[in-house]
Structure formats: structure tokens, C-alpha cells
Amino acid sequence: MTAVTEPFAAEAAGRALAGGVKPRRYGSWYVAEHRIRGMRSYLKTLLVTSVGNPLVYLFALGVGLASLIDKNLGPNGFNGVSYLAFVAPALLATAAVTVAAEECTYPIMMGFKWNPIFFGMNAAPITGNQIVNGVFISVLVRIIPTCVIYFLVMLLFGAVPSPWGALTILVATFTGLSVGLVIAAYTSRIVDDKGQMAMIMRFGITPMFLFSGTFFPLSQMPIFLQWIGWISPLWHGTQLGRVLSYGAVEPAWLSALHVLYPAALCVWGWTTTQRVVTRRLNK
């Protein structure tokens, strides 16, 4: 363009080019910062839930319900460990999945609709991809402390026999993220709220929680229902968690699958959400 050669235009364009440097480099973090600031208003709720939930669940299932099961099967009826040790990694992964699902349903739809801040960010020098990155960073910022607290409560209950147990925090985080990203790929498309969120919860998250080898081994289910576990990231995360937290025995290829499958979901969810959001912002 010839205009750029003129001094004014060159100066203006130069300023613009300089102004784009920082947003291009750190934009995702700015978005995450924004989301975290928004979370501060319900910090108290978050704290109470993330401490209260593990206490309540581990007590109800790992102590109360366990008393029935251990009586029936003997104290080490699950690959040589108690029901508490068996169920704890599953509950940890479930907590991560729940938080991820929460953060990837309404907040994403809201950003386009009832509280359309995504459009505001995009009017500033932030790209659609950065918005998605920022949202996912903030989802991680919620999952990780939730998992750490959960794990500490697990230790308190004596639910983690193996010294490798702390790694279950990572596994659970990863599991939660993979579910969250897949949900986000869907919720970022939603234009009209026709109760899709309730459907995700009732026909997605709840059955996943109940039929993913969480409370009992997958083999307990009839063979024609076991596919639910295989496609459920929660089952993969839970099984890997069991390997780490009490040394559950499984073939190496299966452990590899427990990592690769959620990883594939993450990649798919992340890129799809980026594509959808970018397209939707560009009206």
C-alpha cells in the first residue's frame, strides 16, 4: 500500500504493530486472569465445596458403604485393598470431571449470550483462540486445587496406600480436562438455551459417574454395557488412578490407552472449540 510510505501512516501503522505484540503473546493469560477475577465473587462457595465434598463422599462411600462391602467380601476384597482405597481414586476423578463440566457448560454459553464478554474481549486485541485458551487455563485453575484438596482428604482417610498416589492428582486433572473440552466443543455452539445443559448433566455426566467402574469394577456390569466404560474418560482416568494409588495390576497397553484416549479427546475438544468460537465471533 502506498499510504504506508507517508510519514503519518507509517507512524500509525507502526504504533498498531507495536500495540499488537503483547496481546498476541500474552492474550490467553489475560483472559484467564479475567475469568479468575470473576471467580472471586464465589470463592467462599468454591472453598466450602472443595473441602466439604471429599469429606462427605469419602465418609459416606469409603466408610459407611464400605462397612457393608468389606463385611461381605472381607477387608481386602478389591485386588487386596479395602473398598475405601478402591473407590477413592474414582471419587477424585469424578470431582475433577464435575468441576470441569460446571466450568464448560454455563460459563461458555454465557460468554456468548447472557453475559457476552467474549465479544468484548474480541473487540480488544484478543483472538478467538486466545479466549478459548484462557477459558481452559481458568478451568485448570479450578480443577487443580479441587484435586489437591481432595487428595489431602484422601490421605486423611488413609485411602492412598501407594507412595505414587500423589500422581492421581495429575491423572484426575487430565481426566476432568478431557471431559470439559469435549463439553466445551458442544456448548460453544449453543445459540438457544433449550435445556441442553440439564441434558448434558443427566444423560452425560450422571450416567458416566454411575457406570464407569466408579463404585464397582466394570466387569460387574453385563458385557453388553461395558462399552460405556471404554468410551468414558472417567473410567480410563479412574483405572489409571487405581494403578498409581494402590498398584492395581493391568497390562501396560491398557495403561497406555488410559493416557492416549483422554489425550485424543483433549486435542479434539481444544481444537474444535477454538474453531467454533473463532467462527462464531466473526459475525
Binding site: 501503522a13 504493530l17 447472557w114
Partner: protein, 308 residues
């Protein structure tokens, strides 16, 4: 003269087959205050989004500050302030926090954001509301907050899409005053409106758009001169007699427009026409001579039928 900060050539945006913006061309000079005037659905917001580098054009050329927004979206946006038609403030944050997070998007440091936020809260007369929830603000306050937000990065160009629609007269005047100050400070303003008084108040130059095309272009006064007369006489004879009388008035004034409830006579000298009518023995129920306004231009160019 400095080169334009915005240059649009045959700018077009199509949604499937429908051309929301249909090949418009215009230029905006630095420091100028430029208006897009048009009825609902004319394509104003679509144009603003393309200029705001958030909507990819279908065809045509667009250059903002010498850069193509398709390739340099973030760079272009770093120099813009945007006040969208619908406020998109963050309802979950408080007033001051809204400004701060927005400033961060431009890479400003926390300290810079805080300083700038306080300065702009003052400018937008919201200092005592700094800690309020956005939800609790009135419509006018939200609008001022959106404008304050758009100024966080000291933009070179401020894009305002119907900045005062839906506000009460007091709120509008406060806003106009703030915009006028920005104009005095040399900020380039691009605004859309369908309020004629707003366009006359704020715009040095404007284009009238309709159905995605430019119908006319010029300074408000020039447009009035070109598309209307100096004065307009409005006479009412009652809805049942209007059409009848209009036939007898043929030839009075430069142009005659018959509406269901009144007749408009476009003329250089309204009082003279009124005297003429009296001479003809026609006695209007009410009569009014007024200066021609941009509204007359607008209605002439875009028609009187309702566009939804």
C-alpha cells in the same frame, strides 16, 4: 493533508446470498468525526464490525491505520476503542474491575490499568459507583461505563454503534458532552445513529446508508442544502381533507409531500408559502414553519415506510 485513518473501497459483507453491506466506499480523516446514518437493518453495525476488525469482509478493500484488518486484527484493534450497539460489560465484575480487565487485554500493566481506570471513572462521572455491580447501574451509566472501557487504551479511533439509543434526554446530553470532549482532544470518532439531532451535533461529515448502500455523503448542512430546502411548512387540514387540498396546492413550494395526517411543503421561504395558502382561501387547522433538518434528508433518501 494527512492520509485517511480508515479507507473502505467497495466494502461488502454477505450473509449467504444476502448482502448486508453492499459495496460501500468511504474515507475517514484523522481527527474527523464521521457518521453512518441509516434505518434499522441498513448495515451500519455490520460495517462497524468490519472496521472494528472482528468481522471478515466478503470482498472489497479495507485499511485501518494503513493495515489490513484481515491480517492484522489484533494490531488494528489495539488502536481502536469500541462501543458496541449492545453493551457487553461483564455483569459478574464490579464497575472498576470491568475497566481493569479490559485494559489488561491491551497489555497494560496492573498499575497503568488502575490509574487509567480511576481517570476514566472520573471522566464518565462514575467515580462514586466504582465498587457497584454492573447490574445495578442505570442504562445511561452502563453506556458511560462502556465508553470509559473503550478508552482504556487511549484509542486513535473510537467506534460508537448507536451510543445513545434507549437513553433518556439527560443521559444523552451527558454522553454528547463527553464525546464532544474526546473530539476536541483529537480522537477520531466513527459513529452510527438514527437520531438526526445526534448526527447534526456530533458529525463533521456523514454518509446516509440504506439497504447496505450509500445514498448520500457530506457535511450535515450540505446534505440539507442538497436534498431538502431551507424551510419546511407543515399544514394540517384533517385526515379526510388532506388529499383534496393537496391537489389544489400543486405548484406551491419546491416540492410537496402528502402524508396521511399532514402536508409538507418544502420551500426556501416558508412564511411566503403560508401567505399564499391563506390567499387561496384554504384554512389549515394547524400550520408550522420550521427549518429543514437532517431528518427530512433522511426520510427523503430512505423512504417513510417502516423497516423492521
Amino acid at each position: 493533508m494527512s492520509p485517511p485513518v480508515i479507507t473502505a473501497k467497495s466494502l461488502t459483507k454477505k450473509y449467504k446470498e444476502f448482502a448486508a453491506v453492499d459495496g460501500i466506499s468511504f474515507e475517514v480523516a484523522p481527527g474527523e468525526s464521521f457518521g453512518l446514518l441509516g434505518p434499522n437493518g441498513a448495515g451500519k453495525s455490520t460495517t462497524m464490525r468490519m472496521v472494528g476488525a472482528v468481522s471478515t469482509r466478503t470482498s472489497g478493500d479495507l485499511s485501518i491505520l494503513g493495515l489490513d484488518p484481515n491480517e492484522h486484527g489484533p494490531e488494528v484493534r489495539s488502536q481502536l476503542g469500541v462501543v458496541p450497539q449492545q453493551d457487553n460489560l461483564d455483569m459478574e465484575l464490579r464497575v472498576r474491575d470491568n475497566l481493569i480487565v479490559y485494559g489488561r487485554y491491551f497489555g497494560l500493566s496492573h498499575a497503568q490499568c488502575g490509574r487509567k481506570a480511576d481517570e476514566l471513572l472520573e471522566f464518565a462521572q462514575l467515580t462514586d459507583r466504582a465498587k457497584a455491580k454492573v447490574d445495578d447501574l442505570s442504562g445511561g451509566m452502563k453506556r458511560r461505563l462502556t465508553i470509559a472501557r473503550s478508552l482504556m487504551n487511549d484509542p486513535r479511533i473510537l467506534l460508537l454503534d448507536e451510543p445513545t439509543t434507549g437513553l433518556d434526554p439527560q443521559a444523552r446530553h451527558i454522553l454528547w458532552d463527553r464525546l464532544f470532549r474526546l473530539k476536541e482532544q483529537g480522537t477520531t470518532l466513527v459513529l452510527t445513529t438514527h437520531y438526526m439531532d445526534e448526527a447534526e451535533q456530533l458529525c463533521d461529515r456523514l454518509v446516509v446508508v440504506d439497504k447496505g448502500r450509500i445514498m448520500a455523503e457530506g457535511a450535515p448542512a450540505d446534505l440539507i442544502k442538497q436534498y431538502s430546502t431551507r424551510e419546511v411548512v407543515e399544514v394540517r387540514f384533517g385526515s379526510d381533507r388532506n388529499a383534496d387540498v393537496a391537489r389544489r396546492l400543486a405548484g406551491v413550494g419546491e416540492r410537496l409531500e402528502v402524508l396521511p395526517d399532514r402536508i409538507l411543503i418544502y420551500s426556501e421561504d416558508g412564511d411566503a408559502e403560508l401567505a399564499l395558502i391563506a390567499e387561496m382561501g384554504l384554512e389549515p387547522i394547524t400550520s408550522l414553519v420550521r427549518r429543514s433538518s437532517l431528518e427530512d434528508v433522511f426520510l427523503r433518501l430512505t423512504g417513510r415506510s417502516l423497516i423492521e
